[in-house]
C-alpha cells in the first residue's frame, strides 16, 4: 500500500485530500463529518467580520445532461462570528488531532486587524493559515479578497504583516482573475508565504433567463458576477498550478484547487506540482463520501505504478510542460482508423473536412453508414478526428518515423535554410 501521508509546508496530513474553504467547511459539524469520511484536511470557510449574504447564491452550467459541470456563487465569507468559528476550530482540533485544520482568514487591510486575527486563529489551534486574497465578488468591493490578490504589492505587504504575527505556516490563496498568476505567487513568496494555494474562483456569469432577462443566480431580477468553479475550470487551474510550479522565483509548496472531483483529477494536479489538493464543488454535489474513492483510487494507482508515496508523485509532469518554442517540429503522427471498430457515424469526416485539415475520405457503405479513411499524405496529426470519435480506440494517432532529428522553433529560427522543408506544410 502506497503511503498517502503528506507534509505540506510543515503541516502533516493523513492524505493529500483537503476540503477547500467554502460552504462544506462552514461549521465544525460538517468538518468533523468530513474527517470521519476520510478527508485529510480542511480549510475552514473564511473567517472575518461577519457579513450579510443574499438569498439565491449559486448557479450552474449543465452539459449534455450532466448537472453542474460548472458552478458559480455569490456567497460571501462566513456569516458566523469569529468567536463561534474559533471555538469550533478548537473543538474539532481537539477531537481530530491528526487531520490538517487550516483557518482561512480575511480582514480589512490593516496591520493590527491581521495581527489580531492571526493570533486568535492560532490560539484556537489551527495548524496553518490561509489568506483569502481571491474572493472575486462582494468582498473585493470592500478592499479585501481579490482586491488584494490582484495587486502583487498588496499581496506582498499583507503577507508580511501576517508573517510578523504568525507562528504556523501561512498559505496565500491566489486569484486566477489576473493577467499572470506567477506575479501574485512571487509577491506571496516575497512577503514570506510558506505556500500558495490556487486557483480561487473565476469571475463569471453562468447564464441568463431569456424569459425574464435576469442573470443567474437571480436576486430579485438582478445578479452580480460570481466565482466560477467545478469540473469546467480544471484545465485553467492545471495550467496555473503548472506555471507556478515551474517558476523558479516561487519555489514554495502548492495546494492545487479547481474542479477536482476524482482521484484522477487530484493526481493530475499532483504531477503538475501540487502536494495537496483542495475540493469543494464535487462535495457540494455528492457529499463528503466521494473521498473514499479518491483515497482508494490514488492508492491503487500508486501501487500499480510502483510509486511508494504521494510525495514521490509530486511534480512528475512539470518538466514535460515547456514553451511552444521548445517542441520538436519533426515529431509526426497521423490518424489511423480501425475499420473493425468504426460504427460509420461520419463525425470524424465532417470534423476534419469542415473544422480542420481535409484529410479524411468518405463514401457510403452498403449498410447506409459512412466508410471513412485517412488521407495520410494530407493528415497533419492534429488529433481532432480521434477526439470526436465516439468509439474507444477506434481512431488512434500513430507515430510516423520521419528519420529527421529533433528540431525546435528555436533551432529553426536560427537557421531556416537548413530546415527549409518545414515550410512545406505536408513535409
Amino acid at each position: 500500500m502506497a503511503d498517502l501521508r503528506v507534509k505540506f509546508a510543515g503541516i502533516s496530513s493523513p492524505n493529500p485530500f483537503w476540503l477547500a474553504s467554502a460552504p462544506p467547511t462552514n461549521t465544525g459539524d460538517q468538518v468533523m463529518r468530513a474527517f470521519d469520511a476520510g478527508w485529510g484536511g480542511a480549510v475552514w470557510k473564511t473567517i472575518g467580520d461577519p457579513i450579510v449574504n443574499v438569498s439565491s447564491r449559486y448557479s450552474s452550467v449543465d452539459l449534455g445532461g450532466v448537472r453542474m459541470m460548472g458552478l458559480n456563487n455569490i456567497e460571501l465569507i462566513t456569516d458566523r462570528t469569529p468567536e463561534i468559528n474559533f471555538a469550533e476550530i478548537a473543538e474539532v482540533k481537539k477531537r481530530y488531532p491528526k487531520q490538517a485544520l487550516i483557518a482561512s482568514l480575511m480582514v480589512e487591510s490593516k496591520r493590527e486587524a491581521w495581527h489580531e486575527m492571526v493570533k486568535r486563529a492560532e490560539g484556537a489551534g489551527a495548524d496553518g493559515l490561509e489568506l483569502n486574497f481571491g474572493c472575486p465578488h462582494g468582498m473585493n468591493e470592500r478592499g479585501m479578497g481579490a482586491a488584494v490578490g490582484q495587486v502583487p504589492d498588496y499581496t506582498c505587504k499583507i503577507t508580511e504583516w501576517v508573517k510578523e504575527a504568525a507562528r504556523t505556516p501561512v498559505i496565500v490563496k491566489l486569484t486566477p482573475n489576473i493577467t499572470d498568476v506567477t506575479w501574485a505567487a512571487r509577491a506571496a513568496k516575497k512577503g514570506g508565504a510558506d505556500a500558495v494555494s490556487l486557483i480561487n474562483t473565476i469571475n463569471s456569469i453562468t447564464g441568463i433567463d431569456l424569459d425574464t432577462f435576469a442573470p443567474r443566480p437571480n436576486v430579485a431580477g438582478r445578479s452580480s458576477h460570481g466565482g466560477y468553479c467545478g469540473p469546467a475550470v480544471k484545465p485553467i487551474a492545471l495550467n496555473m498550478v503548472a506555471s507556478v510550479a515551474q517558476d523558479r522565483e516561487v519555489g514554495i509548496p502548492i495546494s492545487g484547487i479547481g474542479g477536482i472531483s476524482s482521484w484522477r483529477d487530484a493526481a493530475e494536479f499532483i504531477v503538475l506540482g501540487a502536494s495537496t489538493v483542495q475540493v469543494c464543488t464535487a462535495v457540494m454535489h455528492y457529499g463528503f463520501r466521494i473521498v473514499e474513492d479518491m483515497i482508494d483510487g490514488l492508492s491503487n494507482y500508486l501501487d500499480d505504478k510502483r510509486i511508494g508515496s504521494v510525495a514521490d508523485l509530486v511534480g512528475r509532469s512539470v518538466p514535460a510542460v515547456t514553451k511552444w518554442e521548445e517542441l520538436d517540429l519533426n515529431y509526426k503522427i497521423i490518424a489511423d482508423v480501425n475499420q473493425q471498430k468504426c460504427i460509420g457515424c461520419g463525425l470524424c469526416y465532417v470534423a476534419c473536412n469542415d473544422g480542420a485539415h481535409q484529410s479524411i475520405g468518405v463514401k457510403p457503405r452498403d449498410d447506409g453508414r459512412s466508410h471513412v479513411w485517412i488521407l495520410e499524405d494530407l493528415c497533419v496529426g492534429c488529433n481532432l478526428c480521434s477526439l470526436v470519435c465516439p468509439v474507444d480506440n477506434c481512431i488512434t494517432m500513430k507515430k510516423v518515423d520521419t528519420g529527421r532529428p529533433t528540431v525546435t522553433w528555436k533551432d529553426f529560427s536560427k537557421d531556416p535554410q537548413k530546415h527549409a522543408y518545414l515550410k512545406n506544410p505536408h513535409h
Binding site: 450532466v66 476524482s262 482521484w263 455528492y286 482508494d296 483510487g297 494507482y301 468509439v391
Partner: protein, 438 residues
Amino acid sequence: MDHFQEIKPALAADEALSEANRCLMCYDAPCTRACPTHIDVPSFIKKIATGNLRGSARTILTANVLGASCARVCPTEVLCEGACVLKDLHHKPIKIGQLQRHATDWLLEKGGKIFEPPVERAISRVAVVGAGPAGLACAAELVRRGHHPVVFDASPQAGGLNTYGVAEYKMTPAFALREVAWVRELGVEIRTGVAVGQDISLAELERDYAAIFIGIGLGRVAPLRIPGEELPGVIDALDLIAFLKTDRAAASAKVAGKRVVVIGGGNTAIDAATQSARLGAAEVTIVYRRGRDEMPAYQHEQELARHDGARFLFESAPEHIDGTGRVEGIGLRKMRSVGEGRAARLEPILGSDFRVACDLVIRANGQTAQEALLASLPGVKLEKNRPLVDENLQTSNPRYFAGGDCISGGQEVVNAVAEGKRAGATIDAWVRRQMEVA
C-alpha cells in the same frame, strides 16, 4: 448461432464508462437498500467512472464475495435495478448488474489481493457443510475474520447451484468454478466429493471443529404423486439443467425434437422451459395449477419463456402420465381458485379433463428438503423440514448454524450469500465468546 450465449453480455469498456457516468450517485441509495447483501452500488459505480476498477471490485466483493456470479444471476429487475430512481425518471434504470460484472470480471482476470489479511489467524476451525453460495459466503467471511473454515461438499465440483443449477445463458459452470477458485485463493479450504454423514460423520466434525454451518440447500424435486410418473421420459428440472451444463450434446440429443411439458410455476420451471426450447424441443408447454397472476416466476422470466415460444397452461393440474414403455402424453384437469391470491384453495373442475401429447415431462414443482441429513443433526430443531434459526442464524444446538435454501426453502443466490455472510459474522462472535468463557 449459439442458443446458450449470454442473455446479458459483458459491457464494452466505453459502454460501461458512459453507463457509470449516468448514475446519479443517490444518497442512501435505493439500489443498495434493495440488495440483500447491501453492496454500496453508487460507490462501486463511481469507481468505474473514475477508472478505479480494483477499488470498484473491492467495494462489491467486500459486501458480497460472490458478486461476480450475482452480477450474472441476480434478478436485478426486481432488486437493485428495480429500485433505481432512473427507472422512474427515464424509464431506464442503470445497468447495475452489468456494471457489477464489468468490475468483478476485471478483478477475476487481473487477480491480486483486494482484502487486507486478518489481524489474527486460525482463531478456530469451522466446518461448513455445502459449497454452494451460502457455504462459500460463510467460509469467506470466516476467513476474513481470522478463522480457518473447511467446506465439505458431496458433489465432485464446488459451487452448488451456481455450478449445477443456473440456466446456461446466465452463467456457465466454467465461470462458476472460476469464481470458486477465487474464493479458494482467499484462504477457503474446500473438500469436494465428501458427503457429510457418509464419508465423514457429524461426530467427527463436532470433534474437530468449533462450529458447524449447514448450507446444504435443497434435495430432489418433489414427486407429483400421480400415476405414470415412473415412466421413462419423466425427469427433474434440476437434473436437466445439470445435465445440460455437464454434457450439452447429450442433453440436446435427449430434448431436440421432443414435445416437452414442464410442471411448475417458479423460476426453475422457466429455466427448464427456456433451456428445453434452446436445446431444440419441438414444443414447450408450462403447466401451472394456479392463474397467471399467482405464478411465482418473475415477470421478466416469464417473458423469456414466452420469447422462446413456450406455451402456458394456467389453472391446470397433472392427473396422470400415459404411455407404453415411455411418456406419450399427460392428463390434465382444469382447476379453479376459491378465495384470493396464492393462499386460495384450489378445487378441480369436474369434467374438465384434457390431454396434452408429449415426449418429456419435466418436474419443476419445487424441491424437497434434504430430510435425512437434516434429521440427523443432533439437537437441531426442524420445522417443515427446515432448521429453525434465530436472528443470528444459530439453530437450537448452539454449535450449529444454518443458512441458504435449506432454511428459506429456496431463494436467490444473493439471499444465500447474505445469509452465509451473516452466519460467518455470528459464528465468529459466538466462537470468540466461547473462547472467553473457556
